[in-house]
């Protein structure tokens, strides 16, 4: 009964005038927040940005942006009929909605923070974000288990539980990151406040969220639930790494080194992780391809019915790369722009830069063989898997094994 109502309600807010106006509202809000960063007060100020955003000043700048955005939505027009909105609008609005929900959750959880007299820089274990990260870890692990069980019992409710747990993990992760941003202002008179994309622990949470949400979008659009077992197992591997990082004291909020005190960090890092996350999903699709291929050659297996076809998996891997590659390209370019501002040159052949180039060349070659050469199948499945290993080295390996200008991502 409720199931019949809910989809129509949900699809209702993703159609026509409602989705169009909301899209421009979000665009306006973001423009307002960015304008505040650059033109409000004395230019950009890392330490005080979040506070200003949440103060009256932020309400005014954001509000003006939102009003202008809504006005723009009427000017630009766009289709008001259901099912006719531009794919760009329909594609982006749900992501903004999710972000808004995370923001609201964050606001809610700030109320549960310990009293300011109990908050200390030396011992950050009583902060709420840590507990939400714990919840995220459990949800992702639980989701992975459910997805695997779903392979063997495709008709049961377990599949639904897997999806729900994964979504829960995404929201928990996103909320915990936003909460960390808030918490970074709680001690030392707010002097060390900064966006939660500054160390390995934080970007790992970001990576889980991006990987999972990309996959979940695919799951909804292409009915490829068997892929979830592979994606969530990859994410679970990351969860264990995150727990280990926490156990060696890498989860603490620490002040930013001068090189990282730039608005570029907030753009460059998340965009990079859109790339990494998409490559992770591509890797999972590649693994699923190889797994199914093995099953097929062994003969009939009940699992074959659950799995998408080889062709579909191949498509999914390509689609992920097609999302990840432009994002990664842009992230690398913006990284170069940042380097030109901080290090004296857009390209220094620093190990991280060079490995980013290697990843880029690797996936560039992937797209070449696929688009222009028409390759598909086993080679490309392997290519996606190996490509992610290269990505992983670029992401973690460089920080752990090689020195260079990106050394702040290092394990201290």
């Amino acid at each position: 009964m409720t199931t019949a109502v809910a989809p129509s309600l949900i699809s209702g807010i993703y159609q026509g005038r409602i989705v169009n106006t909301r899209f421009w509202l979000y665009v306006g809000l973001m423009a307002g927040a960015m304008a505040l960063a650059f033109f409000g007060g004395n230019g950009y100020d890392e330490d005080g940005y979040l506070q200003r955003l949440l103060s009256m000043q932020g309400v005014i700048w954001g509000g003006v942006g939102a009003i202008l955005g809504v006005a723009a939505s009427f000017l630009v027009g766009g289709s008001t009929q259901p099912g006719r909105s531009s794919p760009a609008v329909v594609g982006t609005v749900p992501w903004f909605d999710g972000l808004l929900v995370m923001l609201l959750l964050m606001a809610l959880f700030t109320q549960l923070e310990p009293h300011s007299s109990l908050v200390s820089y030396e011992d950050q274990s009583n902060l709420v974000s840590g507990k939400i990260v714990m919840a995220m870890n459990l949800l992702f692990l639980f989701s992975a288990v459910c997805y695997i069980m779903h392979l063997f019992a495709p008709e049961s409710f377990i599949g639904k539980m897997a999806t729900m747990a994964a979504w829960g993990g995404v929201y928990a992760g996103g909320t915990s990151l936003l909460l960390r941003w808030y918490e970074s202002y709680l001690f030392l008179d707010g002097e060390i406040g900064h966006a939660p994309v500054s160390n390995l622990y934080e970007v790992f949470i970001l990576l889980f969220c991006i990987t999972s949400s990309l996959y979940l979008t695919f799951e909804r659009r292409y009915q490829a639930k068997a892929l979830g077992a592979f994606v969530m197992v990859l994410v679970s591997g990351g969860v264990f790494f995150g727990v280990w990082l926490d156990s060696i004291g890498q989860a603490d909020i620490k002040p930013l080194v001068p090189a990282l005190q730039s608005y570029w960090m907030k753009i460059h890092v998340p965009l990079n992780f859109v790339g990494y996350g998409a490559f992770a999903v591509a890797c999972a699709a590649g693994l699923a391809w190889l797994f199914r291929d093995r099953l097929e050659r062994k003969g009939s297996s009940p699992l074959l019915k659950v799995f998408p076809s080889l062709d579909q998996l191949d498509q999914l891997a390509y689609r992920s790369v097609a999302i990840g590659f432009p994002a990664f390209t842009l992230a690398t370019i913006l990284g170069a722009a940042w380097a030109a501002e901080a290090w004296g040159g857009y390209w220094s052949w620093d190990p991280k830069e060079t490995w980013a180039l290697i990843v880029w060349l690797f996936y560039g070659a992937y797209l070449h063989v696929r688009i222009s050469h028409g390759w598909s199948g086993k080679t490309l499945a392997w290519w996606a898997v190996v490509g992610f290993l290269v990505t992983l080295f670029c992401f973690v390996g460089v920080n752990m094994y090689l020195s260079g200008l990106h050394s702040y991502g290092r394990l201290a």
Binding site: P87, L188, E191, V257, T329, Y346, T354, F362
Partner: protein
């Protein structure tokens, strides 16, 4: 076309071929890895000790120590440029032509290739009117062709998608050209400007050597400061600089990391800092039994020579903060600042040269005074510094006196009588009023008896006062290729989006008269994202129905 062109054409086409591009990309990727594993632009002697003479020369002749500027790596990039150029030369004209030429008619055998076909019948016989109405469907670029009793309509979406390919490949070429311009016409180097000093020359590593370059202006560093977070971590490195052009002060500004200064096409970045010749005063506690304390005034990067003993101190560095891990091994790290220290190399007749770090303050642990501290490195390497507790707190003149009083008195007294001697020495120096940390004082003095007598030096050098001068390490760069790279980058991103997301969708409508009314055949073809195209095709059919005022009479095939 000339004979020459004909004979080299197959060769040229090879450049444009796909496998070559893939191989080239992979070779570049693998080659790039080498330079990340092998540290670049290090000291040549380090390489020599690391690899031994044979491999050192092999690596050196391959340019592996500066491999991103080695001839073969540049050659690979050049090869990539050649390959890109020929790809464009080979494909772009064809693609442009394809985008322009749109075949409106559709042969019968071509229907088999279509992803979607649909057929419907409408009443009436005015083909023109139907075609006009169909052409009003928005979102498609329509072309029409009329034949006897039959009209073809062709609609296109994303017709320009091949621009994606052209843009991406020419963008890469632009980026590479920009990079070449940066290297060819730009420069990037470092200068160290002491506070109050001026500099107009940068130096940079080229190949295995260091070269320098004159700037068209001078940079003066007015001051340099470091701001700290409450945690003790550095928060900001800030230099106040003045640019002096032909003797005139033209610009004064602060720079910090992430906020460079721009003058005459040169960007000036905050890159590092160090000691710029701080003045340090050391007290020399004579160990010849004379109880004398002399003062040595030195300066970082200069050598102070003690005339009396002939011992020299080459002062190498000064730091006002020395944060050290005070926790026992295996415990959670606990950092503590143990105050200012000066580094110098101590040489003298009959002495083994050693590196010494002398601290200004006595070493305190949990409020307990452990006496003056120096560190000694026998190898001269900073990593080999070992702590050396001298005993007395030499910042307190009384303890120096006490040490001497005690050593005189204990000289005659047997072991075990040390306590009596110490008490006597204390009352000699301090009078009746015993110092509060009497017990610690005893430990320190006793420690002094053990260590100071074992020192081979004629004096103990202890940092007494200082006047700090920093130098600011600046990086200066001029990059005429940078904007070219940004243009290329923008084109690249834009082109990639077109290439990966825009699909070329084509639909055909064939309207023809038949016995009763008209027959409309619709066909659709897309080169990617077929799922979305399914929806679009159905949408087109729906709009067609709307425009023609039909209820659905057709049937999908």
């Amino acid at each position: 076309m000339s004979q020459l062109y004909k004979s080299i054409k197959p060769f040229l086409l090879r450049f444009a071929s796909m496998p070559l591009a893939i191989v080239l990309l992979m070779v570049l990727a693998i080659a790039s890895m080498i330079g990340t594993v092998l540290l670049q632009n290090q000291d040549q002697t380090d390489y020599l000790t690391q690899f031994g003479p044979v491999w050192y020369w092999v690596f050196r002749s391959l340019g592996l120590f500066d491999m991103y500027h080695a001839w073969w790596f540049i050659g690979l990039l050049g090869f990539l440029m050649v390959s890109l150029s020929f790809c464009l030369w080979h494909n772009a004209p064809r693609m442009l032509k394809e985008m322009r030429s749109r075949k409106i008619t559709l042969a019968d055998h071509a229907w088999k290739r279509m992803q979607h076909t649909h057929e419907l019948t409408v009443s009436g016989n005015d083909i023109e009117a139907v075609a006009e109405k169909a052409e009003q469907i928005s979102g498609w670029q329509w072309l029409s062709y009329r034949e006897e009793g039959r009209t073809y309509l062709r609609g296109d979406k994303g017709r320009y998608h091949k621009w994606g390919y052209i843009l991406v490949h020419s963008a890469l070429l632009v980026v590479l050209i920009g990079g070449w311009m940066s290297v060819q016409f730009g420069f990037r180097g470092n200068m160290a400007v002491p506070e109050g000093g001026m500099e107009s020359q940068i130096s940079y590593v080229k190949g295995t050597g260091v070269e320098s370059l004159d700037m068209p202006f001078e940079v003066r560093c007015n001051n340099f400061i470091i701001n700290f977070f409450p945690t003790g971590a550095p928060k900001e490195f800030r230099s106040n600089l003045t640019i002096i052009d032909q003797g005139k002060e033209v610009l004064t500004s602060d720079i910090i990391v992430n906020e460079p200064l721009y003058y005459k096409g040169v960007r000036i970045y905050q890159a590092s800092f160090g000691d710029g010749g701080s003045k340090v005063g050391l007290k020399l506690f004579r160990l010849d039994g004379s109880k004398r304390v002399d003062v040595a005034e030195g300066e970082v990067y200069k050598t102070y020579t003690d005339a009396e003993s002939g011992v020299s101190m080459e002062i190498t560095d000064f730091k006002p903060f020395n944060v050290e891990n005070m926790a026992a091994p295996g415990q959670a790290k606990q950092f503590q600042d143990i105050g200012p220290a000066v580094d110098f190399i101590l040489r003298g007749p009959g002495l083994k040269p050693v590196k010494v770090r002398s601290f200004m303050n006595p070493f305190m642990v949990d409020g307990q005074n452990q006496g003056s501290l120096i560190m000694v490195s026998l190898s001269g390497d900073n990593r080999d510094f070992q702590s050396f507790f001298l005993g007395p707190d030499l910042t307190n003149p009384k303890e120096w006196q006490l040490f001497h009083a005690f050593s005189e008195k204990s000289g005659g007294i047997e072991a075990g009588g040390g306590v009596e001697a110490f008490k006597a020495a204390v009352s000699e120096i301090y009078g009746d009023k015993r110092p509060e940390d009497f017990k610690d004082l005893g430990i320190r003095t006793l420690q002094g008896m053990n260590t100071l007598s074992g020192l081979p030096w004629p004096f103990i050098p202890v940092l007494d006062d200082y006047e700090q001068v920093y130098y600011t390490g600046l990086q200066l760069a001029q990059d005429p290729g940078m904007n070219v790279v940004w243009i290329g980058s923008a084109l690249l991103t834009f082109g990639l989006c077109i290439m990966l997301y825009v699909s070329h969708r084509k639909v055909w409508l064939v309207i023809e008269a038949q016995d009763k009314g008209m027959r409309i055949r619709v066909a659709g073809l897309a080169n990617r994202n077929l799922v979305a195209f399914d929806g679009e095709f159905n949408e087109l059919l729906r709009e067609l129905d709307d425009n023609l005022g039909l209820s659905n009479q057709g049937e999908s095939v």
